[in-house]
Symmetry: C2
């Protein structure tokens, strides 16, 4: 069974108060994106890694590869204007097998969770990692706000894994606003997805605080390890 | 206007893989709970602080006060079996004015957010800090799971601030399952609450990872300060 990872890294750094796109910021001295790619390689050394980057970020990535002596084999693909287009471009490089679509700015993904996702997708056709929402919720609607039952409510993570042919078919549809992730694209064609337990620490880095938090988690993990 | 803070710290440490209740764990060398109390004191030096602790934790707290030379004036009150009872016990020590009910394990609360909450409660009768949910959501229901619209969905934080007499009246009702926080207790009597913008970093410490994260946030904040 061939395995593909489409790593999507379109971030522009807008939310970070930083000129550097967040996927290139240093985490323990190494660009966020290199942590991400390494986790997929550790999970499956024969993984085919496809990295989707905005065209104007590709030279930066090439410089970083050289500066950090990054040896990991991967294919760089040009992204589209929207994430939907970027994933579609990445999928063109995938043939028969299982593909995981992953946010480049989730560098704390563990090889263990990656393997569980690919295994379950192989068995069930799809595998989406989710974690329960543990905070009390409230829904705001203009001037009104009401308590909001969190029963069953989960946050969705990546990698979202699918059989390649089935996901490619789903991505033939024109883009819809309801397509907030790959699971929703897949569902529109195939009806339902399989969910599995994600990892609270599989953080998406969207602010500088998140970067500090990721540093702290890595420090804690390595102390234990 | 007299201001009261009821700090509720009933945690048993069960989720922490630690014998030490989480409110007593050290954050930058100082128990979590001391950080929390200090923030309220910095916000308003004339704040009346009521700390609600399980009876068997009171000797530990007294030892920590002595060991850390903690000078801040506060009243210790015995907690009940449930948070609802603990808050009710704390409220008995409050007279006319504004009261904020706060989780003892939210030590990163800033004096600035505390002041905004008390000011708005004085003006509007209640003030509940909330932050938008930014993750994609999915609702699980047995074998089924469906995408879940996060529009307007916010996570609820503390301090939750109210006029003392109004909150005391609300707490006369018998406990109901729907009472997940002070806002829901207040609403059952008074119909609605006022919400305001909370702080993403006002973290609730429920796991050891959260403690590492809090350390990282404090390190980051102090670098900037």
């Amino acid at each position: 069974m061939q395995r593909f990872a489409v790593i999507v890294a379109g971030g522009r750094g807008l939310r970070m108060n930083s000129e550097i796109p967040k996927q290139f910021l240093l985490l323990r001295g190494k660009p966020v994106l290199m942590h991400t790619l390494e986790a997929f390689y550790v999970a499956y050394p024969d993984m085919q890694i496809i990295l989707v980057l905005p065209i104007d970020h590709i030279p930066t990535w090439q410089t970083l590869i050289s500066d950090h002596g990054f040896k990991l084999n991967h294919t760089v693909v040009e992204g589209g204007a929207e994430r939907f287009e970027s994933v579609k471009n990445g999928l063109k490089r995938c043939t028969n097998g299982i593909v995981g679509i992953h946010d480049g700015v989730r560098p704390l993904i563990t090889p263990e969770l990656i393997r569980r996702c690919y295994e379950q997708a192989e068995e069930r056709g799809s595998a989406i990692p989710v974690v329960p929402i543990t905070q009390s919720l409230r829904k705001l609607d203009g001037e009104r706000n009401v308590p909001f039952d969190r029963t069953g409510v989960h946050a969705v993570q990546t990698p979202q894994c699918f059989r390649v042919e089935a996901l490619k078919l789903a991505y033939q549809k024109p883009f819809q606003k309801a397509f907030t992730d790959d699971a929703t694209v897949y569902e529109a064609e195939h009806g339902s997805v399989h969910v599995l337990k994600g990892d609270e620490l599989n953080l998406k880095i969207t602010t500088l605080s998140d970067l500090h938090i990721a540093e702290a988690i890595l420090a804690g993990t390595q102390q234990q390890g």
